[in-house]
Subunit: 213 residues, 2 copies
DNA sequence: TAGATTGTTAATCGATTAACAATC
DNA sequence: TAGATTGTTAATCGATTAACAATC
């Protein structure tokens, strides 16, 4: 394998946003777009768009711009969306159930295969056709069902142990909603969604705006 | 008001994480900590910690380090957590209800005062003691109940109009879960939580790891 | 006082923006 | 061909890290 140059996370985090805008353009039957026009819609510089895209290849054409459908598909490929991902959700409380019910994920190839919890009251409950199972069954389930990723939607006390179990079972990525940093072996990917952090950031910025009055 | 130097968002986004680590230290009765030790726990450089904190003031003491409780409280103040924030949730589907049930928010002073939806089936349903109301009632409710922030947990089609209504009613910040960028007047703060974007980032990184094998 | 560790300046690194030659 | 717009190099800007004098 060629030692490709490492793409910065700043760039990667922008890709889904490009994907979203291109998807909208596609829905509106826009066939082509220049970096300049896209930059105006997205409120970023055209230079940044071109730089970002050229990390992955030359998707445009001089004098023409970018073909919307082609670029949309190419970014989808870069993001790995041509694959299907089997996921399980560990922690079937309100948030876990909300994720299980979120249909947009399936549209992009993220298929919820299982739901797990420790709470005996929840075990056996059916959510969107999926029966909530005991976390003790995770290991077998992951191995039998080719599970790639797990969403962790449980209290922080339980998160580290469950995360380790998931990794041992063979999960490659963890979508972590627990308010704690997971330390996992190299090669296992963690993507954090810290809702309270996000809310505090909002609180900070509102406080600042008020001072500026 | 003094024209304080603008703090970069990179710094601000790190504050909640400091706050989390300091809270844990406090729970474990750790009285003082040096930037070096904290840096080892958090896996960042000690230099970055000191630089970040010194944006807001000198909270440490040479030869000693930082008093954990003091620093924890100071970061809390910076984040605006000494205030109470009344919030409403617009969109009482699975995600909205999950947020309404999340008790950690209240612990930090974010009080859910109202729940709203367009779906007649949901209106009147009671979640955690709060009756779901029609979105038509938002304007009056925001004005009467001193609502500072609104979580937007509804489909993207409905988000822009509701966001505008919220701003007109006087909301200062929007916690946006809809997969769309809101264009709101200056002074109104938007904090985005794009779950699908986050999931795609995870998908990208997993794909990369697989290539590296 | 001596040792430890901050606060802060200076150096480095990386990301963003500008500029323009290449080319459709 | 002329005009438009990319791909890419160079310049700028900002964020991170290193270093160290100040000081507890």
């Amino acid at each position: 394998m060629l030692p490709e140059k490492k793409i910065s996370t700043a760039v990667i985090k922008r890709l889904p946003r490009y994907y979203r805008y291109l998807g909208d353009l596609l829905e509106n039957d826009v066939v082509r777009i220049s970096s300049k026009e896209l930059s105006e819609r997205m409120k970023v510089t055209a230079s940044q768009i071109r730089q970002d895209l050229n990390n992955f290849g030359g998707f445009g054409q001089q004098g023409y711009g970018y073909n919307v459908e082609y670029l949309y598909k190419e970014i989808g490929k870069i993001l790995g969306l041509e694959n299907k991902y089997n996921i399980i959700i560990v922690g079937a409380g309100n948030l876990g159930q909300a994720l299980a019910n979120y249909t947009d994920f399936e549209k992009r190839g993220f298929i919820v295969k299982g739901l797990f919890d420790v709470n005996p009251r929840l075990i056996g409950v059916v959510v969107r056709g999926i029966e909530i199972k005991d976390v003790d069954e995770i290991d077998a389930f992951v191995k039998e069902n080719d599970i790639h990723m797990a969403a962790l939607t449980l209290p922080k006390q339980k998160a580290p142990k469950v995360a380790n179990d998931l990794v041992k079972a063979g999960v490659k990525g963890i979508w972590n909603f627990a308010p704690i940093d997971l330390n996992l072996p190299k090669g296992v990917v963690v993507e954090n969604v810290h809702l309270l952090d996000s809310l505090m950031t909002l609180s900070y910025t509102i406080s600042q705006e008020e001072k500026d009055q």
